[in-house]
Assembly symmetry: C3
Homo-oligomer: 368 residues x 3
Amino acid sequence: MSFLLNAWYVAAFADELNGATPLARTLLERPIVLYRDAKGQACALDDRCAHRFAPLSSGRVVDGVLESPSHGLRFDGSGRCVHNPHGDGRVPAQAQVRTYPVLERFGAIWFWPGDPQCADRARLAGFDFVDPATHFTHHGYLKTRAHYQLSADNLLDLSHFQFLHPDTLGSEAIARSDVQAGSLGETVWVRRSVFKETLQPFVANGFGVPAGSCVDRWMDVKWTPPGLLTIVVGVTAEGTPRESGRIAPSAHWLTPETARTTHYFFAFGLPTAMGDAGRELVRYAVEGLMRPFEREDLPMLEAQQARIGDTDFWDARPALLPIDRGAIRARRIMEGLITAEREGRAPGNAGEGHDRRTIGIRSAFEVS
Amino acid sequence: MSFLLNAWYVAAFADELNGATPLARTLLERPIVLYRDAKGQACALDDRCAHRFAPLSSGRVVDGVLESPSHGLRFDGSGRCVHNPHGDGRVPAQAQVRTYPVLERFGAIWFWPGDPQCADRARLAGFDFVDPATHFTHHGYLKTRAHYQLSADNLLDLSHFQFLHPDTLGSEAIARSDVQAGSLGETVWVRRSVFKETLQPFVANGFGVPAGSCVDRWMDVKWTPPGLLTIVVGVTAEGTPRESGRIAPSAHWLTPETARTTHYFFAFGLPTAMGDAGRELVRYAVEGLMRPFEREDLPMLEAQQARIGDTDFWDARPALLPIDRGAIRARRIMEGLITAEREGRAPGNAGEGHDRRTIGIRSAFEVS
Amino acid sequence: MSFLLNAWYVAAFADELNGATPLARTLLERPIVLYRDAKGQACALDDRCAHRFAPLSSGRVVDGVLESPSHGLRFDGSGRCVHNPHGDGRVPAQAQVRTYPVLERFGAIWFWPGDPQCADRARLAGFDFVDPATHFTHHGYLKTRAHYQLSADNLLDLSHFQFLHPDTLGSEAIARSDVQAGSLGETVWVRRSVFKETLQPFVANGFGVPAGSCVDRWMDVKWTPPGLLTIVVGVTAEGTPRESGRIAPSAHWLTPETARTTHYFFAFGLPTAMGDAGRELVRYAVEGLMRPFEREDLPMLEAQQARIGDTDFWDARPALLPIDRGAIRARRIMEGLITAEREGRAPGNAGEGHDRRTIGIRSAFEVS
């Protein structure tokens, strides 16, 4: 299984990292330790002491550097051993731990597993609507026992709401939606409009719609590599324009833990200008979604992964439907990027090899 | 690990299948879904939606067809997609799930994992004594963590009663039994006569024998491929002929789940003409056997499998005893059938390659 | 993963074996059964009946021989089948189970997994200080989920006391120790002297030192293949000679269970001439050590093993420090012995291929 290495991935939510306790997390099959240095800056290192391979995450942060739990060697955020407590204290040249470029933005810690020279801050996707400086945000996390692309497929095709989440997110109207999918460069959109829908209480309450009333709902999904999605859902009175209703934007960040397990980070954000109502709504959304995500999506993704097993997705010969357009496009883009990277083409041009034609209409949808 | 494919295997007891809920079961390393269609006929399909590989067994039966749990595609008993709820509802040609020939007989659902053209009803072995139309029956199920042939070995050599089941099925007299084994074509018999035996209470009660009295017991085992056994046990007063005592026939059906795990289905049957006593006895037998089967046979079979590991049975060089004759014959027949099938010889002649001589006397024993 | 076969390994503590119950233990990836024969002599056999591979350890000891639990064959301490209860009772020539040379000494059962012709009693290392005939002894056991050489590394470098066991065995003075390491032939020594140390209560109490007083502590470690260590710790008033204080000798015996798991046997012994105080001290030492061993060493060793994974230790390129000298020497000796054995050089000369120069000073330390 190969991953795209030259890309920003979410390693953790920012509030998972404090100064006192290092955080252990396996990312792209690498055991990584995350911690904050004396200036509060997040650092990512291989979670393996250079001396005897002890997990640095089991040690402690001392004066902003990591102390190995077994023999007390200390490593700073650049991976350099800065202290050997034994004997004459000399530090051998090999006492160096690999580090990874790190950024903190949008309430998350982002890390770059590939060539550090390419770790350009400008390549980070935009998720301003969960910027904690300007928005109330609330977030959730789930470990998914499936390949990250299966999770992306699931988010890029919300038709599953009707069948998998009938009591919370779905309705009988969803399969009748108008669905448009498209891509531009490395970005994929799927735009779904559901008409004359009676919402389940969880959704109706969230959008302030009277129970049992007939509404229109739209759900726009935007995907960028390696697995970063924005979903905006809006609800309006039946037949009224999109602009007339309330919207709920959410971020969905998929980071492979291994080839068969995925860190699923998701967050809702609403402008602080909304006051307490906004603060309450983002919490309501995340807490309400945990149940269907955990009890319905997770087992389904795990079962799909089990059915596919070690077979390549395409070799398993899925019967493709129009609802799969966005997901297939995203898969093709990832395959193109990974192939380009493996063949040594410049990471900046990694997407050049694939077809840039849009499928269906090009969405004008933009968040923030 | 190769299995014999052109054969009828038990997939489930008939009463495990109702119309409302599909049943998931791995058979010969294939995830299979079983359900009843609108006419009540049992169907077996690969448990994997043609679209996105969701397990159909997690869906529901709607109007006699299976609805996939993730996106609502529906498949009938022939594996054809008969409903796509999305968009224009068209069904792509690949939307087809593999199905398996199925029969319902002797209180069981039988499936044929091989070439459907060869799935001849006439090739089903006879187990009339557990036909629910004419007999009271009761059945039990255990998952055995061992190769199915180890379970067959165990049933073909009941000398283990003395050592493994001393408190329930065994006695000190068993090792002194007269044992005859033979085969004719693809059928193997082992015929054991125990003389002057004092039975354990569980067996004595089942056969209506006073506790502590001295009896003769005979146990006849018949095996046919791929792992279908009939065991008839009879008890008589010491020195009296077989015809004078009560008999208890039972069916033992072994279906590989994987190369190392086995579905063990077993059933007792007595003619309805016996009235309530027969109904009570079949229940008594199954319920009483669950304890030694589960607590003594299962751990032993699992331990034997663990000791053999990935080694071929013959490469592990077992020291063969006369008590192994029937089991060895059954192994040789299975090896011949599997080799013939793999080499493309006509399934009907698959057994031709092996030695048809009988070992010891040929039993005249026939059930039903 | 290859093991050194021509060597004495500890299979069990002597008091684990009684006459009635066989003991199952996997040693060097072989399932072994240990039991005592009619004379009370310990025997070691493959834990696998020659007939149908049942685990002999699930059977029982009858008249000093092992009875197989499934079909009642009996095997004596030489592995010969001495009883077949079935039919005419003849025993086929293959009915022979592999056995291993066994010794009972120093409160332990030792077994020799290699060529029985080479199993020389004289090659057994000396651990007289835990001989139960002349010493009070107490022992502990832990299963370590790591390669046995990682455990040896850990015992050969007690600098980890300061960081891994700060509340029980360690102190801030340990990293400042004077450390000498050396080897002679196949024996490795590490000699550590800690000066002006304030001991944790567990150690201070054990050595009868007032809480908070300033002492010197020395810790001498001796290793011999395949993983047999003696550790002697002594405590004296600051600046006084070694002879003036109390000493605590302990044995540490590492036997691979598999390539990734280790049986860790350890024992303390003090001369019976010490009376009740000695009896109490060995118990105090073992019971007190179980906590840091189990809660601190075990998770650390397991984590190190996980970080190394299937990579060869040297390929993982550890940064070596002076504190690693003894451990590295022991690894090199084991590598030399295993290579010599694999290449068929005489086991007695197996250590010849490696460098016999001592590293640092040669310790004069000898126990018993």
